[in-house]
Symmetry: C2
Subunit: 242 residues, 2 copies
């Protein structure tokens, strides 16, 4: 049995949420985004859409191969829930696992909003052509949306003892929260510095995830490509707090 992870090359993007969990859990995978160009991804997606079987709408998607059998699953939160189930990495309590998927889907929502801070008028237009709109959208995101989401994650981290959402060990929500914090710190460093003191549990969770052996090794490798201005989290100083 083997995994191929497909995503756009050159950016962390939504693929990074899948990568981080697999790295933390020690699940081997072949990272097709780091072994090919965008054309290879486009061709793979087109072939799947024309195959007559259910296909991904967009990357990231994970292809599990077991001999001649192949199963492709898309949507980052869905992939993470599925990997957790398949590798017996759940909490042991079904209701807790459902709540953690719910939290993962809430991270999906805030990630989409983070993207829209620099592309409020649409992904088909350049940032330079929507800078004024982006400034307005980013202000609301910085001032209202980040605190609203973070209040929720901070409360959820208080449900169980320890740094993670679960009492026993890290799960997919912890690695995704790490990535959300890293991305927001990259995109909005001044605003995130202002907020740090208000969210000690979120900061502690981020720090504990960074020290997981699989994550520490990954972050120190060349597999972790830097954030950049082609991805979801972009640092445009004019969109950060004054």
């Amino acid at each position: 049995m083997s995994y191929d992870l497909w995503y756009w090359p050159g950016i962390q993007g939504r693929g990074e949420f899948v990568r981080l969990f697999m790295e933390a859990a020690g699940i081997p995978y072949r990272d097709r985004a780091r072994q090919g160009d965008a054309q290879a991804l486009v061709e793979d997606m087109e072939a799947r859409e024309k195959s007559g079987a259910f296909a991904p709408y967009a990357p990231p998607y994970l292809v599990a191969k077991d001999g001649a059998d192949e199963f492709a699953i898309a949507q980052a939160a869905h992939i993470l829930a599925w990997l957790t189930d398949r590798h017996d990495l759940g909490s042991g309590d079904p209701q807790t696992d459902l709540h953690l998927i719910q939290l993962q889907l809430t991270i999906t929502d805030v990630v989409a909003e983070a993207h829209d801070t620099h592309h409020p008028l649409g992904g088909g237009l350049y940032y330079e052509d929507q800078k004024h709109a982006a400034a307005t959208r980013a202000k609301g995101f910085r001032e209202d949306r980040i605190p609203k989401y973070f209040d929720h994650f901070e409360a959820a981290l208080g449900v169980n003892p320890g740094a993670f959402f679960r009492a026993d060990r890290f799960g997919h929500v912890d690695t995704s929260l790490f990535q959300l914090v890293e991305g927001l710190r990259y995109a909005f460093p001044r605003r995130m510095a202002e907020l740090a003191a208000d969210y000690p549990r979120i900061c502690a969770c981020r720090d504990e995830v960074a020290e997981l052996p699989g994550i520490a090794a990954y972050l120190n490798s060349d597999r972790r490509i830097p954030f950049n201005e082609d991805g979801i989290f972009r640092h445009y100083p004019e969109l950060d707090a004054p």
Copy 2:
């Protein structure tokens, strides 16, 4: 065992995706959005966030009560997957059920984009204060995003024979696709009329869902409140095709 569905009163919103599936499947529930005001919802949410247990970030959420036990689950796609599992309404094939959840999450994405056509600069601002930005965002949504998503749903409907995504009967993706089509037809009637001929399977699925006994009864009841300009799908003629 009983269900309470919590959502904002006065709109269909994301709660409607849960409602439609429960109505189609004949699962009884108490609709708290139709029995109280927004303040009741806000108070319920605040109490849950302060309870020390995992809480919803936002409505819709469904509260399942079994004697003294209570379990609350949020995120429309997550609620639908959970109800499907709990009421044994799956296809019988785990991979198909996973693909259907993936499709439901893709519907979640397009619904968020539909919302942002009228609020691209942020939900905290009035539509009147972002009409120009909305016109730009809506153009890209109408011309590029709807066809891209619809191409995908049309292909997915071709995987199995019959009008539904599954070969055997309707599932949660069918009722959600119905609502997506209804909402888009309300918001963008001219554009949707242009596109109808290109998507025969989507139109057929919508029509078959409308004729499901539970859906037909619901649509004819006063429980189905009309679309309006407070919801996700809003008809602003200036955002529709010329």
